[in-house]
């Protein structure tokens, strides 16, 4: 495309207009809302966004008329698909480790990085009620305190928003749009799905470190998530669920409500802006309705039916592709184990040998803390920093001028952004303060 010819305004406008029209026409059909929901809920978006979509998709799915498939037996045996995925606790642990790995890696590339708070991680994982997307509020304690709000604080500050538009930062993050990619294939046949995942920068390093083979994990996980989508589609159409919903509606009618769909009361009390409001206080009416709603889900057997059906369809999915389920389970176990080893300081990522000249001496501020943020260290990091500070303290004590010149050969942990600055003008007092700050 590049040439010696300088485009005129008209030529450039025409080229851009054609590009926009062509790309807009090439995007294809959008995926089902339901499919996207499942991905978001498990992996990425904060609870607020996921919850909005869950509600919408759940309503759409329940309203949709679908062809009936043979129904799986409720008394079947064998493993169910959920056994091969992350538990909520495992997902929080792995995401937490991933976060620290990304921080380490970005620091070695001279780039800032803000850790997600524990609270934010927990909002993304495991805080939605059981079967929230299918039948709404099911937790009696949350009903009594939150009404239909998914959590008291549904949004968290994205700590990396400030620099996410910086192309240099994005390139170090995942290689950017022009970086390397891995193709996502059907793990059973190797046939490309047409999708791919970026595999450059720190993201690629972290994925390889955690899963061993990013391409294989991504393909197996994509298949696994598609199976979950398929389960949910079948599940919500199951006449046994519909029967339980009718019993729930009868129970609600006995309490003075007229809702026919278990998502209706939730939708009724929510509006578009409710997710932007932190600590929204539900009205007494909302709480009373939610409490009655959950009580009916329990007494009518709807919640039990939901659980039984989920297991039944999960068993069916495993029977359909047992090898892939087992492989996904192994990949999950690997990631969980390596995350724990990383957090304990038993493993370090390959990025530790990948230090650029610009890091970590990219500031003249000497704080000893990672990027001046709150001290939030894993056990391994805490031990690493304690050892390093001990070495610095010993070197300073041995130095006649009580300066840090003799510690120049000491290498601070790569995530200690300001460590390099401290090497230039640290004093015994600063080191003592830093060591004290590490004490529980």
């Amino acid at each position: 495309v590049k040439s010696d010819h300088v485009l005129t305004d008209d030529e450039l406008n025409d080229l851009v207009a054609r590009t926009l029209d062509t790309v807009a026409g090439a995007v294809g059909e959008p995926a089902s809302l339901h499919t996207e929901l499942r991905r978001r809920h498990r992996w990425v978006l904060p609870c607020a966004a996921a919850s909005v979509v869950v509600l919408g998709i759940g309503a759409l799915v329940l309203l949709a008329a679908r062809d009936r498939q043979p129904l799986p037996p409720l008394d079947g045996t064998g493993p169910t698909l959920g056994e091969y995925g992350f538990t909520d606790r495992e997902q929080v642990a792995v995401e937490s480790a991933q976060d620290r790995m990304m921080r380490d890696c970005m620091a070695t590339r001279g780039q800032p990085y803000g850790l997600q708070t524990d609270l934010a991680r927990q909002y993304r994982v495991g805080t939605l009620d059981e079967f929230w997307s299918e039948i709404g509020r099911t937790d009696p304690d949350r009903a009594a305190t939150l009404g239909y709000q998914p959590s008291p604080r549904t949004r968290s500050q994205e700590p990396n928003a400030a620099w996410s538009d910086d192309p240099a930062w994005v390139t170090e993050w995942d290689g950017g749009a022009a970086g390397p990619t891995v193709d996502i294939v059907d793990p059973r046949t190797g046939e490309p799905t047409g999708a791919s995942q970026l595999a450059g920068g720190c993201f690629g390093q972290v994925m390889a470190f955690l899963y061993g083979d990013q391409a294989r994990f991504t393909s197996v996980d994509d298949f696994f998530l598609n199976q979950l989508d398929s389960i949910q589609r079948s599940y919500v159409d199951d006449p046994r669920l519909a029967q339980s919903i009718a019993q729930w509606a009868e129970c609600m009618s006995g309490k003075g409500y007229r809702w026919r769909n278990p998502l209706d009361p939730m939708l009724h009390f929510m509006d578009e802006n409710s997710f932007d409001v932190r600590h929204r206080t539900p009205s007494a009416e909302e709480v009373r309705t939610a409490v009655d709603d959950v009580a009916c889900k329990q007494s009518s057997g709807l919640l039990d039916t939901a659980r039984e059906l989920w297991l039944a369809y999960g068993r069916e999915a495993v029977a359909d592709a047992p090898d892939i389920a087992a492989e996904h389970g192994l990949l999950v176990d690997t990631a969980v184990q390596r995350s724990a080893q990383f957090e304990a300081g038993e493993l370090v990522g390959p990025w530790r040998d990948d230090r650029s000249p610009s890091a970590p001496t990219n500031t003249d501020r000497c704080t000893w803390l990672p990027d001046g943020t709150d001290l939030d260290l894993s056990a391994g990091e805490r031990a690493e920093l304690t050892t390093y500070l001990g070495d610095v303290a010993a070197a300073v004590a041995d130095d006649e001028a009580r300066r840090v010149s003799s510690t120049a050969s000491l290498v601070p942990p790569p995530w200690l952004i300001n460590g390099g600055a401290c090497r230039r003008h640290v004093t015994a007092d600063v080191v003592d303060d830093a060591i004290a700050s590490l004490e529980p």
Binding site: V16, V23, E29, V44, L63, A178, Q197, M270, E272
Partner: protein, 164 residues
């Protein structure tokens, strides 16, 4: 708030609804709106998530939306900025594949458009694709009209430099 039982429609009572269901509108307009969302965000995946966000948010108020097509298009444009901030997290673990048209000139130009800062790209899309006036674009991007002109000028200037 929950209405008293006496105010609730009884079975068979007519309830005001838009002419088309959410699903029908999604089927009819989904592809077109996905195209717009993809251009504004620079990413098919981000565009699709934006599209789904907009539909999901519209469901609770569907009965009060008189012109779904107009409403949804405006909602996509209006939500681009906040949506992109939110997707910073999403992009971390689920980066998206690029749209490929098979036409080298178009693909290269799209690659360069994607590489533009988000505001520059959005300003160009809103002006060239949707034909909006600078005043309307300024409203969507929460900036002055002068800034809109600057964003478009700088964006196109960068494209020209890269393509020449």
């Amino acid at each position: 708030m929950v209405r008293p039982m006496s105010e609730l429609p009884v079975d068979g009572e007519e309830v005001t609804r838009p002419a088309e269901s959410v699903e029908a509108v999604y089927r009819r307009l989904g592809r077109e709106l996905l195209g717009l969302a993809t251009l504004l965000t620079g990413s098919r995946q981000s565009g699709e998530e934006l599209l789904h966000d907009v539909f999901a948010a519209a469901i609770p108020r569907w009965s009060s939306i008189e012109q779904p097509e107009h409403y949804l298009r405006r909602a996509i444009v209006n939500r681009v900025r906040s949506h992109q901030r939110r997707l910073v997290t999403a992009g971390r673990w689920r980066p998206d594949p690029d749209v490929v048209t098979g036409e080298p000139e178009i693909d290269e130009t799209w690659r360069l458009l994607r590489a533009l800062p988000a505001n520059q790209r959005a300003a160009i899309v809103l002006r060239i694709k949707l034909g909006l006036a600078d005043r309307e674009i300024a409203g969507h991007l929460d900036c002055s009209e002068a800034t809109v002109r600057s964003l478009v000028s700088r964006g196109l200037g960068r494209l020209r430099k890269e393509l020449s």
